[in-house]
Structures are given as structure tokens and as C-alpha cells.
């Protein structure tokens, strides 16, 4: 098998374990790059971007959980209050999203990229959660545990406040099960279809009873918990939420499922062969160490295979471009921020708004005609805001964006453009940049 050059490997490491190279990153060697992205426990540059405050939901508008609808028509005051509260919620979500995009842009380790991956894996949307503070808390949990043990993360997510709200966990009580969280936890988070039965879903729902949503956090109420004996996934006992998570994680299918999901997003659309899976499983280990798994993925021959290309997700593409152009979302004017968020929405991917609990699609789903229009518009908008004084020709843009090189097709397309902003915008839409080759 031919391998890509070391510089291309470095670029891939930056693309796959980060959000693309920052200026200068491609001059480092592969080993040094692995040490930078997967070595440190914390990311000082990203940590310096302080999380937003004042995300508490608007007072007195959110109905208490379980309250039955009141009869009677809504007064105009009710409507105005609701409108104002929705506006406030939208402003909080926007603040949160810009903060996270900022963090992604300045991040120097794989921690932020993996936080993004876990967000898509445990896909929770603020569309239903409607509480930016809870979304932030979930996001911080995912960040803290991003490169640690998968079991810790899964156990944290099954009782996470935003997750419980998203999948109706607070509605699941003894004697009146709600299966939403139980089913998706096995199907999408830990095991995959085919590795559990319908009976397991019903029993798992019993394990997840007892959780309610208080004003600021999900809490466990023993009297709502079904403490009876449950039989699921081949075991019998008085399992609770964490017990259920443990049972799922102990299933033989769990490791392969998580490895497959990470591989598909970080390495290649072609699944790993059996020998590769065996090597990766061994690195992942009984403790399910995510960082060790990623180290092993980076060392796989497939990581250097020219065929292991991936279409960048819209957020990865936009953050990579912002980084290359030295633009920080929080420092853009408000109007420009609005356009950035509208552009991401138009391409089909807005942070904190996964399309469904199944997360976002991949590959050719991002290469639609409508996404193409938005991509060009956003690239133009960002290029106009950047300092492009060093950009004169296609080679300068390749260096700026960290592209390995242009094809003859793209060289010829770029040759007709003189204006640096236009040159950069078109280059950012070239197949060589839209795809992490």
C-alpha cells in the first residue's frame, strides 16, 4: 500500500483529532503532533475561553414538570411573556454556541474535537431541552471525560440533566415506564441494533426510573424508583441507572460498537477489518480508555492510506476555516455572528442542535446542492473579514488553508481570480479543502 507523505499525515492528525491545522502546525513532525494533540491532559488555550454565565432559564415561564394544562384562553400578556422568554432563551443559546465555536477555533489538543464527537454521539438538542445552562453542563461533562474512560462518560450521560429532559427520563417512574432513554441508550450510545431485545428495553426502562427534574438539576427520588428485580442483558438483579449502564458496557458488542463509531468519524468511511478491530480493542482495553484507542487509531496503516478520506462536517469545515483565517467568532460583529450561525444551519449542522438523537449524517449527505450554495456564501463572508495581505495566488491560499496541494482542475479554477478574498473563498470550496484527504 502506498502511504501519504508525513506532512499529509500531520495534516490528517490536525484534521481528524483537531479542527484543522493552525498556521505553522504543518511544520511539526507526526510524532510531535501526536504528542501535542493526545498528550496533555488539558488544553490551556481552549480553557482560557471562559464559559458564558447568565444562562439560567427565564423566570416563571417554564411550566413545572408534570403540571397539567390550565384551561382558558391565553391572555395577550401571556403571549408577550412567552415571546420575551423565547427571545431570552435564543440569546442564551447563541451565546453558548459562539463560546463553543470560539473554543474549537483556539483548541490545541484532541480534547475539544472529541467533545464535539461525543456531542454528536450522545446527540442532545436544545430544541427540546430549552435550557442553555443544562446544555452547557452536559457539554462540560463530555469535555472532562472526552479522552478518559468511556464507561465514565456513558454512566454520566445516562443521568445527565439535559439527556434526561431530551429523552423523557423524568417521565419514567415506577409502574409507568417510558422507554425512550432506555432504548436509545442501547441502540445509539452503547450497543447498536441487534445486540439487545425488546424485553431488554422494557426492563432497562425500569432501571432508569426515579429521576426527576428539579429547577437546576436532575435528581434521584427513591420513591419513584422501581426497586424490584430486573432481568436484562442476561443478568438478574436490582439494577439502577448506573447498574444498567454497566450491564450495557459489559456486553461483548459494546467495544466494537464504540470503536466503529469513532473510526467512521475520525479515520475512514471504510470499516476496519477484523485484525484492525482486534488491535484497537486491545488498545481500548477492559477499562475502555478512549485516549489509548485514539493513539492506536493514529498508528494504524489505514490512517496513512490515501483512500482514508472523509468529508468534513460543516462545523469542522467552518471552524478549520476560521482558524486558518485567524478569526474568532466572539470577535466578529454581531451581524457577522448571525451570518455564521445561519450558514452552519443552512449547511445542516448547528452545535447544540443535532438533527435527531441519532446525531448528524456523514459523507455525501454534506455534499448536497443546497449545502454548496451556503458554503460558498459563508466562505466569502469569512474571507472578507480576514487579513489576507499575504495572499497573492493559489499557492499562498494552499499554505494558508493547510491544503496538501491543488489538483490541476483547482489550479486552473483559481488562476482566474485576482481578489484575495474571492480567491480564498473559492479555494475553501475546492474538493481538496471540503474533504479531509
Amino acid at each position: 500500500m502506498t502511504e501519504i507523505s508525513e506532512r499529509a499525515v500531520v495534516r490528517r492528525l490536525n484534521d481528524r483529532f483537531g479542527f484543522g491545522p493552525a498556521p505553522g502546525d504543518l511544520d511539526a513532525g507526526a510524532d510531535a503532533t501526536v504528542r501535542r494533540v493526545l498528550g496533555p491532559a488539558s488544553d490551556a488555550a481552549a480553557a482560557a475561553v471562559r464559559p458564558p454565565t447568565g444562562l439560567e432559564p427565564p423566570e416563571g415561564v417554564q411550566k413545572p414538570e408534570g403540571a397539567k394544562k390550565q384551561g382558558g384562553a391565553k391572555t395577550p400578556q401571556d403571549k408577550d411573556a412567552k415571546k420575551a422568554a423565547n427571545k431570552q432563551r435564543a440569546a442564551q443559546e447563541r451565546k453558548l454556541t459562539i463560546w463553543w465555536l470560539d473554543r474549537m477555533v483556539v483548541s490545541r489538543t484532541a480534547g475539544e474535537r472529541l467533545t464535539w464527537f461525543w456531542h454528536g454521539h450522545f446527540a442532545t438538542s436544545n430544541q427540546k431541552v430549552r435550557n442553555a445552562a443544562w446544555m452547557l453542563a452536559q457539554n462540560q461533562t463530555q469535555r472532562t471525560l472526552a479522552l478518559g474512560r468511556f464507561g465514565d462518560l456513558a454512566r454520566a450521560m445516562v443521568v445527565d440533566t439535559a439527556m434526561i429532559r431530551w429523552l423523557d427520563g423524568q417521565k419514567n417512574r415506577k409502574g409507568s415506564p417510558n422507554e425512550n432513554l432506555a432504548r436509545e441508550f442501547m441502540e445509539l450510545f452503547t450497543l447498536g441494533i441487534g445486540h439487545y431485545q425488546e424485553a431488554d428495553v422494557a426492563q432497562a426502562a425500569r432501571c432508569l426510573t426515579g429521576w426527576v427534574l428539579r429547577k437546576d438539576v436532575a435528581t434521584f427520588q427513591r420513591r419513584r424508583f422501581d426497586s424490584g428485580t430486573k432481568t436484562l442483558l442476561g443478568k438478574t438483579g436490582d439494577f439502577d441507572a448506573k447498574g444498567f449502564a454497566g450491564l450495557a458496557l459489559a456486553q461483548p458488542a459494546s467495544a466494537g460498537f464504540v470503536i466503529g463509531r469513532l473510526w467512521f468519524r475520525l479515520v475512514s468511511a471504510t470499516p476496519p477489518d477484523a485484525a484492525t478491530v482486534a488491535r484497537l480493542s486491545s488498545a481500548y482495553g477492559v477499562n475502555r480508555e478512549v485516549k489509548s484507542l485514539l493513539m492506536a487509531m493514529a498508528a494504524e496503516p489505514a490512517f496513512k492510506d490515501p483512500a482514508s478520506s472523509l468529508v468534513k462536517e460543516p462545523v469542522e469545515w467552518a471552524v478549520g476555516l476560521l482558524r486558518a483565517l485567524r478569526l474568532q467568532p466572539s470577535k466578529l460583529e454581531e451581524k457577522e455572528q448571525t451570518k455564521l450561525l445561519a450558514g452552519l444551519r443552512g449547511m445542516g449542522q448547528l452545535p447544540f442542535r443535532p438533527l435527531s438523537v441519532g446525531g448528524w449524517p456523514a459523507g455525501a449527505s454534506w455534499l448536497t446542492t443546497s449545502a454548496g450554495v451556503t458554503r460558498l456564501q459563508l466562505a466569502q463572508q469569512l474571507a472578507r473579514k480576514a487579513d489576507l495581505s499575504g495572499v497573492k495566488n493559489a499557492e499562498d491560499v494552499a499554505a494558508l488553508l493547510g491544503v496538501d496541494g491543488w489538483s490541476e482542475r483547482t489550479k486552473s479554477a483559481l488562476a482566474g481570480v485576482k481578489d484575495p478574498a474571492q480567491l480564498t473563498a473559492v479555494a475553501a470550496c475546492a474538493p481538496e479543502y471540503v474533504v479531509s484527504g
Binding site: G359, A364, L367, G416, V417, P431
Partner: protein, 416 residues
């Protein structure tokens, strides 16, 4: 890696939709076909299919409501509609009170309801079941959608099918061709050096990798789609998702809102005579595990509010009169309500067809509420019967070729 392993992997990874799209290789001369389409718009006697996907598993029992059935009232006491609340359809069934416009179409004999539609050994995963409906392959996963295969079989022209969503649904992905997708505010690209340079990115480049070639082809497709569709589409028609407490309760299983805007765009395209035979639109939010009644009625009202003016508008033009609308969801909900005034994932549900060519009325049998399979409805009609009917009578295709030999159609449902 062999195909079976690959498919299994993609399925187990929960990425079936992406897998369906990843599998195809595109080597068609799109430009030639498009140029022909500009010169030769869709003949006004050709029929058009509009498929509307309801994401999240719409509760069929609270859509076409067996309000007179004591077993229904008993199974969901706080969720059930009373007989005097629903819009009477006869046969002891009534439409959800949110569907007043569709009741009008029913009275005009332009709405058909196929009852108890599903497939054997139903899967209760949103993603697997939706993949089954979209690929029309109940037994084993395959990487192409049923309309994608129709595209493959009829000349591999992506503009013959159009999605009005930002991501492409798997039903429109074929082995060699994927449908075009169109943003609600229309397509317009820039002129001048920038436009020329961007267009030039669409040329294939020798030796480039699979995904880069696909990216280049998407630029080419965009150029061609813009030439044809750009003129037909009004600009500035984009609204934000309405942030509404009722609709957000069932949001976890995906799908977009703005169905009205999607259908308005489709109506414009049909009237403009673009050479598209199949359209796809969607509405999400039907994953109603809690507080279902208000949420679902709100969504069905939105569906009704989008479909009714669409059907009325289509009736006014010759091209519109040849359009048939198909509405489905990946499964219905369980008969018994859960403890949170919602329902968990179930099986069979009703499928709606409407339009001038539709012979209104009921088709298929209403599933029994007492003869259940593990608490779930038994399907009486295979969803592929519905597909075979529209493939044959709307798209003029041989169903067996596209549905792996399945060719049973539903008699009398559509007029020739």
C-alpha cells in the same frame, strides 16, 4: 471489505443513512441530461409524486382514531379522543381534530387512507425502521433508497428527483445517482470571476479520491440545478424554526419543520414544469413519549395546514392535477399509553394519499385492538404495496424492478 460486512458495519454504527449515500459511484453525464431538460420541460400529462416523511413515529391510532372502540378508550384513558371530538370518516373511525382541511379533501373523495400499513417482524428503532421504509427492504439492510433505485433505473438524472431539505434523505440515494437538493430560499450563484472559478471546481480531476470526486460532482450538480431551478424559485423564503413548547416535546427523532414552505416551493416547481417526477419533503417531531396529545395534535394541525392549501393549489393547474402526495411515518405507537401521557414505539400505522388521481376512501383493514402482537398492532398491508402502486401508476415504472420482485399493488387506489 465485502459489501455485506460494510453494510452491517454501517448499520451497527447507526449510520445507515450515510452509508446509503456513501455506497454509490457517480459517472453520469449530468450536463447533457440537464441541457435536454431545459429544452424539454416535463410534459403536462406526466404525473409527479410528492413523498412526505413524518419523522419520529406518528401515532396512527390518534390520527385515524377508532374513537368508538371501547378497547381504544380503555388502553389510553388520558390520551384518547372521544367520538364527538374527532372528524367522522365512517367505519367507526375519525380524523384527529387538527385535520379539518384533510377532512374536506376526504369529503371530496380526494383523500385515501390505507390502514394498518407495516411490514413483517417490525423494528422499533427509529433509525432502522425509517431505513427499512426508505430503502423498501424489510429483511436485510441495503444501501439504496427506493426512489434512488427508480432514479438509477430511469436514466440516472438527479434532477428527476428533488429534496427540499438541507441534507438528503436516504430514500433518494441510488447506487449511481442521488437526487438534487434545494434550499428553501432557492439557488442563486454569483456571476463574474468568482462564479466562473467556482463553476470550474466541478470538473473531475484525474486520480482524485472518491470523496473529492463526489465533492467536485456536487459542484457540477449545483451549477446545473441552478440553471434550471434558480429561476423557478422565489428567494427570501426562509423562516426560523418556531420555538414552541408543544412541538419540541417530540423532537428527539429528527426531521425538519417548515413543511408549508417546503410544499410551497414544490408547488412552484411543479407549475414551472421542471423535469422532476419525484419530490421529498418532511416534518419532524412525532417522537411523542410524553404529553402526546397536545404535541401530536399541534403537529397534525401543521401537516393539515401545509397539505390543504398545497392540494388546493395543485388542483388549479394541469400539471398539479397529475401530482399524487404520499404521507407516511416509520411506525405507529403502542396501543397502550405509557405512564407519562405518551406512547412508546409501536408498529403499523395509516398511510395517506391525496390528489386528483386518488380515489378517496379507506383501503386495507383497520387493525384489531384486541388481537395484538406483544401489545402492538398487526399490519394488514405491506408498505411495498403502496410503493408498487405509485411506482406503477404515478411514475410509470415496473415495481418489481425497483422493489426486488415485489409487485402487489392496491386495486382502485389511483386512477390512470
Amino acid at each position: 471489505m465485502d459489501n455485506l460486512t460494510r453494510r452491517r458495519f454501517l448499520t451497527l454504527s447507526g449510520v445507515t443513512a450515510a452509508g446509503a449515500l456513501a455506497a454509490g459511484a457517480t459517472q453520469v453525464n449530468w450536463s447533457d441530461l440537464m441541457a435536454a431538460a431545459v429544452d424539454d420541460p416535463l410534459p403536462s400529462d406526466q404525473s409527479v409524486l410528492v413523498v412526505i416523511t413524518l419523522y419520529g413515529g406518528n401515532d396512527g391510532l390518534n390520527t385515524v382514531v377508532p374513537a368508538a372502540d371501547p378497547a381504544y378508550q380503555k388502553a389510553r384513558p388520558d390520551l384518547a379522543y372521544q367520538q364527538n371530538e374527532v372528524l367522522d370518516l365512517g367505519d367507526g373511525l375519525g380524523l384527529n381534530p387538527g385535520m379539518k382541511g384533510l377532512k374536506g379533501l376526504w369529503d371530496d373523495k380526494r383523500l385515501a387512507i390505507v390502514r394498518g400499513v407495516g411490514y413483517p417482524e417490525p423494528d422499533r428503532s427509529h433509525f432502522r425502521s425509517m431505513a427499512i421504509w426508505q430503502t423498501a427492504s424489510p429483511k436485510s439492510p441495503i444501501p439504496t433508497g427506493w426512489l434512488g433505485r427508480w432514479l438509477d433505473a430511469t436514466g440516472a438524472d438527479p434532477l428527476r428527483a428533488v429534496s427540499v431539505e438541507s441534507t438528503l434523505p436516504p430514500l433518494l440515494a441510488g447506487e449511481t445517482t442521488a437526487a438534487a437538493s434545494l434550499p428553501l430560499r432557492g439557488l442563486s450563484l454569483l456571476d463574474g470571476a468568482l462564479g466562473t472559478a467556482y463553476a470550474a471546481l466541478g470538473k473531475p480531476s484525474p486520480g482524485e479520491g472518491h470523496w473529492q470526486a463526489r465533492a467536485a460532482k456536487s459542484v457540477l450538480d449545483l451549477q446545473n440545478a441552478t440553471q434550471v431551478l434558480g429561476k423557478a424559485v422565489k428567494s427570501g423564503h426562509e423562516q426560523e424554526d418556531e420555538d414552541d413548547e408543544e412541538r419540541t416535546k417530540g423532537a428527539s427523532a429528527g426531521g425538519t419543520s417548515q413543511l408549508g414552505a417546503q410544499l410551497e416551493l414544490i408547488a412552484g416547481l411543479i407549475e414551472a414544469g421542471v423535469p422532476t417526477r419525484a419530490y421529498s419533503a418532511s416534518l419532524g417531531g412525532f417522537d411523542t413519549h410524553a404529553d402526546e396529545r397536545g404535541t401530536q395534535q399541534r403537529l397534525l394541525t401543521e401537516l393539515d395546514g401545509a397539505l390543504t392549501p398545497f392540494a388546493q393549489r395543485l388542483q388549479k393547474t394541469d400539471r398539479g392535477k397529475n401530482a399524487v402526495v404520499l404521507v407516511y411515518s416509520e411506525f405507529g405507537r403502542r396501543v397502550q399509553a405509557n405512564g407519562s401521557d405518551g406512547t412508546d414505539h409501536g408498529t403499523a400505522g395509516p398511510v395517506f394519499l391525496l390528489g386528483e388521481k386518488v380515489s378517496g376512501g379507506f383501503y386495507g383493514n383497520q387493525p384489531s385492538l384486541t388481537d395484538l402482537s406483544n401489545g402492538d398492532l398487526k399490519a394488514g398491508t405491506d408498505f411495498r404495496d403502496v410503493y408498487a402502486t405509485v411506482l406503477q401508476h404515478v411514475l410509470g415504472a415496473d415495481p418489481a424492478q425497483i422493489l426486488a420482485g415485489h409487485q402487489t399493488t392496491i386495486d382502485g387506489l389511483l386512477r390512470a
